[in-house]
């Protein structure tokens, strides 16, 4: 191996390495689409089978928190995009500030999500833990809430990973701003935006049934 190269021997140049990393990230996102895709497929099957129950269950969700969280996540994505731009312009301090803002918004999102979970717990809407609902639509409502909890908790896990990645990048950026960091931030941003897009889809499926005129 030629010593002292800034990049691994399988690459011809730094640019070659960074472009390859980006392809890797897109392929990973394709995997993620299918992960959530399977879940959404199951959701649609059951929503199709229980339209009335899903509409009724949807009305028990907290649309104010959900909407606030959507705004929070979209804003955090804006900050992450700004961070990418800032690093391109070599404004490291701005970049770190943007990343920290995005992380804080991410944490705020998780906090609100936890408050929402607590509310549902008090209303006995947590399947498998404490669930009671007056028939006749109880079965369908329970199915809705199973999907609600599975989907939002998998999304939350993605959020936690995203926050950890942004935190790592922010710490590393304090030391140096190599081109490698630029590529890493770019991939992290792709991931963050993707998790954001997933939330937008989940928002429509969780909070809007039963509130859109039906």
């Amino acid at each position: 191996m030629p010593k002292g190269r800034a990049f691994a021997p399988q690459y011809a140049s730094v640019q070659h390495r960074d472009e390859t990393a980006e392809i890797g990230m897109w392929v990973f996102l394709a995997t993620e689409v299918l992960l959530f895709g399977g879940l959404l497929f199951a959701y649609f099957v059951y929503r199709h089978a229980n339209p009335a129950a899903f509409a009724e269950a949807g009305r028990h969700t907290r649309i104010v928190i959900g909407t606030a969280n959507t705004a929070i996540l979209l804003t955090s994505s804006f900050f992450v995009a700004c961070a990418v731009n800032a690093l391109q312009a070599d404004a490291r301090r701005t970049c770190i500030a943007m990343l920290v803002s995005a992380m804080l918004l991410g944490l705020l999102f998780l906090g609100l999500k936890a408050a929402e979970y607590a509310g549902e717990y008090h209303e006995h809407l947590v399947p498998g833990v404490d669930f009671s609902y007056v028939a006749p639509l109880a079965d369908g409502v329970e199915l809705f809430f199973i999907f609600y909890f599975v989907a939002t908790s998998i999304h939350a896990v993605h959020m936690v990973i995203g926050i950890a990645v942004l935190a790592t990048l922010a710490v590393l950026l304090r030391r140096s701003a190599s081109t490698r960091m630029r590529a890493a931030l770019h991939s992290a941003a792709l991931y963050w935006h993707f998790v954001d897009v997933v939330w937008i889809v989940l928002f429509a499926l969780i909070y809007l049934p039963g509130r859109s005129g039906t």
Binding site: I23, Y46, G128, I146
Partner: protein, 535 residues
Amino acid sequence: MTEPDYLNSAYTLRSWFFTTDHKRIAILYFATLIGFFFIGGAAATAIRIELATPQADLVSSDTYNRLFTMHGVIMVWFFLIPSIPNTLGNFIVPLMIGARDLAFPRLNLMSWYLFIAGGSVTLFAILAGGIDTGWTFYTPFSTLYSNSYVIVAVTGIFIAGFSSILTGLNFIATVHRLRAPGLTWYRLPLFIWSLYATSVILVLATPVLAITLVLLATERFLGVGIFDPRIGGDPLLFQHLFWFYSHPAVYIMILPGMGVVNELISCFSRKPVFGYKFVAWASLAIAAVGFLVWGHHMFVSGQSLLASLVFSFMSFIVAVPSAIKVFNWTATLHKGSLRFDAPMLYALAFLGLFTIGGLTGLFLACLAFDVHATDTYFVVAHFHYIMVGGMVTAYFGGLHYWWPKITGRLYSEYWARTAAVLIFFGFNLTFFPQFVLGAEGMPRRYHVYPPEFQVWNVLSSGGATILAAAYLLPMFYLGYSLFFGRRAPANPWDAPGLEWQTPSPPPEFNFESQPVVTRAPYQYGPDFAAEPQNA
């Protein structure tokens, strides 16, 4: 001995367990997979011994359930799916495309650790008492009634799934970005096309299995009814989700085998593969259409007749690209300068066995016949002809073909040919009787059966003995060659592929200088030696 190669560049444990060299990671996978092959094989052995007589004399019904589940789970997820991609693929792909490593070497190492972690968790489930659901984990049995370690096993498979995804991702990025200068897509060896198609499936199908297993574990753990009809859930939905992964997974298992066979048939016929572009695109066609046929596992599960008709039709369609490959391989043999070295024997065995497996697959794609044959030994025989007769044979063929490259040693040709012939003979004796048993109506997954089936079962168990011995043989002569085999030259088969243009075993970063490719693959012939590719 003069130049350091990847094997003798360092000897410490650290240099193996923290290596990012694709060749060393391939060796780590080799060693791991041998272990899993033996565990899965031990379960198969117990099954065949039990089935030698119509009564239950070795194990109880419950133990039998656990045995065939163990056999299926280990062989599918911990042997067949990673077999060729993670061993031969890991080793050969960068060499074949003239790269110094895969695109993401650390991710590659991480995939091995995930595989070890997933494998350990699943093995724990087996040691703790086993799983009795069958490898398909059908609900509601797996979630409501089974008293075995379903959640633990499923967790192991979930973790191993991410190992698959990372491998697929790595190959896709590598093939897109790391090809040597001049190595255009249509100059790629067909092994690369096959692994590329495999990787697409790994990346797109595995996450669906992951989410399905999450739902399954949630249902079982929380006692809620996602797939439970009592609260409006749908057990059929589980089957749809499961087979959406598990049918494409069949192509994960066979496509790499087809890739190996391209290399072998072309090399030992001394001819380019006939109809290169058709074979290349057939791989991608199999990957694409393979996503649209899963319902043929559910013809008797209660899906609508329309759905069954569509899935039946698509199952016939997906056979077309496979048939294109078989015809093209046969055409490649035609008027070739055939050499019957051991790898070629495996390739020819593959051709015959895969064709039988494929044609009986068409029987099963017919709705009327499938209703008769569902859950019988006919199905068992069919998929073993593809998975074992096809994939495992190709795996052994590829292992022999690239063994000199991997180890730098030559094995005993005599013993290698003997093993190949024994495997072909033992395999047919094991599984052909199962077609007859299935056609006569013997259901799978039972360990007692009416006495009139005994003849065929004894034949099958006898064949399994031969097969087991034949699979053990390479352990000895390949193991012997490691220490006492003659040193292999760089290119023992006179093949034009890039992997043969570097010493055996290859140096740590594969090539002394960056190879440049100027022509199509498989240029066997008298002018080949005059034009070294490695500029």
